[in-house]
């Protein structure tokens, strides 16, 4: 079933829904997942992003997204200059990512508190994106839903804590997956929900033993 407004729309700054709008969304997603203002971004472009990225403004779009711009922001072409004013340092490099979608990018970010994050994402067409790796763990979520990204230790039964918390608020889960880097390592729980998760539930989950971090990504229109 195709959404009427997937056909008429999105409203976006050109020239390409995959190479420009999708790149903005990847940058924005990375900023949200970092949870704070990025001060440094190392950008590694793969495949077609590396090949035709400059002509499509992919590089500018990624930085625009990291600055928090939306896909229809007319300042996207000026993002490098704006990054300068907002003290975001960035660099670009071309790279080969293993088994990656042709429109892929790896971002290594440092936030203002010193927090670091690595994210690999792909632009899969029509402005839609997919986060493929987060801090070295293989994941798979699109930002088409409200999403909880929960990091916890591999030795706790946090799954039931989380599902109990969600059922308290009657939040319906659309998709759910768990990923880990290695046994006993960090676990990443990705929970996509139909409704946004209330703030007090996010806090409740954060307080459970073994939970390292909770990020709530609220779906954008």
């Amino acid at each position: 079933m195709i959404d009427v407004f997937d056909i008429m729309g999105p409203i976006m700054v050109g020239p390409s829904s995959s190479h420009t709008a999708g790149a903005v969304r990847i940058g924005r997603m990375a900023r949200t997942l970092l949870g704070e203002k990025p001060v440094k971004a190392e950008v590694y472009l793969h495949g077609s992003f590396a090949e035709t990225g400059v002509g499509h403004g992919t590089d500018k779009a990624l930085i625009a997204g990291l600055l928090g711009m939306a896909t229809d922001d007319l300042d996207i072409p000026n993002s490098f200059e704006i990054a300068g004013r907002r003290k975001l340092k960035f660099s670009f490099e071309e790279t080969e990512l293993r088994d990656a979608h042709p429109n892929s990018v790896k971002l290594v970010l440092t936030g203002e508190s010193g927090r670091k994050m690595k994210m690999q994402a792909s632009s899969i067409g029509g402005g839609r994106i997919m986060v493929d790796k987060l801090d070295g763990v293989d994941v798979s979520f699109s930002g088409d839903y409200h999403t909880l990204i929960i990091q916890n230790l591999d030795n706790q039964s946090n799954l039931s804590d989380v599902s109990t918390a969600l059922s308290l608020a009657r939040v319906n889960v659309a998709n759910m997956s768990m990923h880990r880097s290695a046994k006993g390592g960090n676990v990443m729980m990705i929970i996509e929900t139909d409704d946004p998760v209330p703030g007090y539930i996010v806090e409740l989950i954060e307080k459970q033993p073994g939970i390292l971090q909770v990020i709530h990504y609220v779906k954008e229109d």
């Binding site: 976006m12 700054v13 990054a83 300068g84």
Partner: protein
């Protein structure tokens, strides 16, 4: 309802005593769980964005590659000089160029159904809106009609150049625009279907061969052919001319042709115009300038910003 067949949308419209566009509107309300007003408002936002993009176009901007810009302005000026196809057709052409250029120059557009084909629908809607003093609500009806057509094509075939060549991208936009025009001129549901079928048939087989992989050459001018073809298909349908092959079958055939197009002619920039000596030269030029752009320092960028755009301007 599932927007998977032109015939079924028309049957539903007849059964319920509604127009084609109303079926699409109600489908959106149902799918997204929104009110009629919310759905109409969202479409209005798209319409306003199209109109605004047209109004702010000056022809002064150039794309990052330097390949595009200024042609919409040339055509617009020429529209007053007794063009061969008449003033209206010249305006359609000018609008298609302006919108395609705006997209290439990183301005705000409405993907319909894609960014590369964003010029086709506004190119036919905006000149008609001004010429015939149409009401905004009528324009929204036309855009719902067009969206329904696009949804069926996306379901049965495809709407991206990478999947099905330019016929899927500009071809779909052209079919959508033809349907919108038939609605605006008071055509019947059956005429909408014939217009869709004819518009899509006329562009079947069109390759996607963007020079240097950019949405510029030949994409911007292909928006023109999509728009002009939409006007022709709508006029034919309104004249009572029918497509011998029904719309759904034409859409299926387009999907089939798209699947058979070699990979080189599906947005990979390996064939067609992209593979001409001039096309290759553009690509090489882009590759060498890429290195230069990458080492752009913040200081250079600031200097460029101050030189190019006064503080606070957009």
């Amino acid at each position: 309802m599932n927007l998977d067949s032109m015939q079924e949308i028309v049957a539903a419209a007849r059964r319920e005593g509604k127009r084609f566009w109303e079926i699409i509107l109600e489908t959106d309300m149902e799918n997204r769980g929104v009110s009629r007003g919310e759905s109409l408002d969202k479409m209005a936002k798209n319409w306003h964005t199209m109109k605004e993009a047209s109004e702010v176009y000056t022809g002064e901007r150039r794309s990052l590659s330097g390949l595009s810009g200024g042609q919409g302005k040339l055509m617009h000026d020429y529209a007053a000089k007794a063009p061969i196809g008449g003033e209206f057709m010249a305006q359609v052409i000018a609008e298609a160029l302006a919108m395609g250029e705006s997209n290439a120059c990183m301005r705000r557009v409405v993907a319909a159904p894609t960014a590369g084909a964003c010029g086709v629908l506004p190119a036919v809607l905006i000149p008609l809106y001004w010429r015939e003093n149409l009401l905004e609500e009528k324009m929204l009806e036309a855009m719902f009609t067009a969206s329904g057509v696009g949804a069926v094509i996306a379901y049965r075939a495809c709407i991206s150049g990478a999947a099905g060549g330019c016929q899927a991208e500009i071809g779909s936009a052209s079919a959508m625009a033809a349907a919108a025009l038939v609605h605006l001129r008071g055509g019947t549901e059956s005429q909408i279907c014939h217009a869709v079928a004819m518009a899509l048939k006329n562009l079947m087989g069109l390759a996607c061969d963007p020079v240097a992989g950019l949405v510029e050459v030949p994409c911007i001018k292909r928006n023109v052919v999509g728009a002009v073809n939409a006007v022709a298909a709508a006029d034919m349908a309104l004249a009572g001319i029918e497509s011998r092959i029904p719309a759904d079958e034409v859409i299926d055939a387009m999907g089939e042709v798209g699947r058979r197009l070699p990979m080189e002619l599906r947005e990979t920039a390996l064939g067609g115009l992209a593979a001409t000596p001039t096309g290759r030269a553009v690509k090489e030029r882009m590759a060498s300038s890429k290195k230069k752009q990458r080492v752009l320092t913040i200081k250079d960028a600031r200097w460029r910003l101050e030189k190019r755009e006064p503080q606070g301007s957009k």
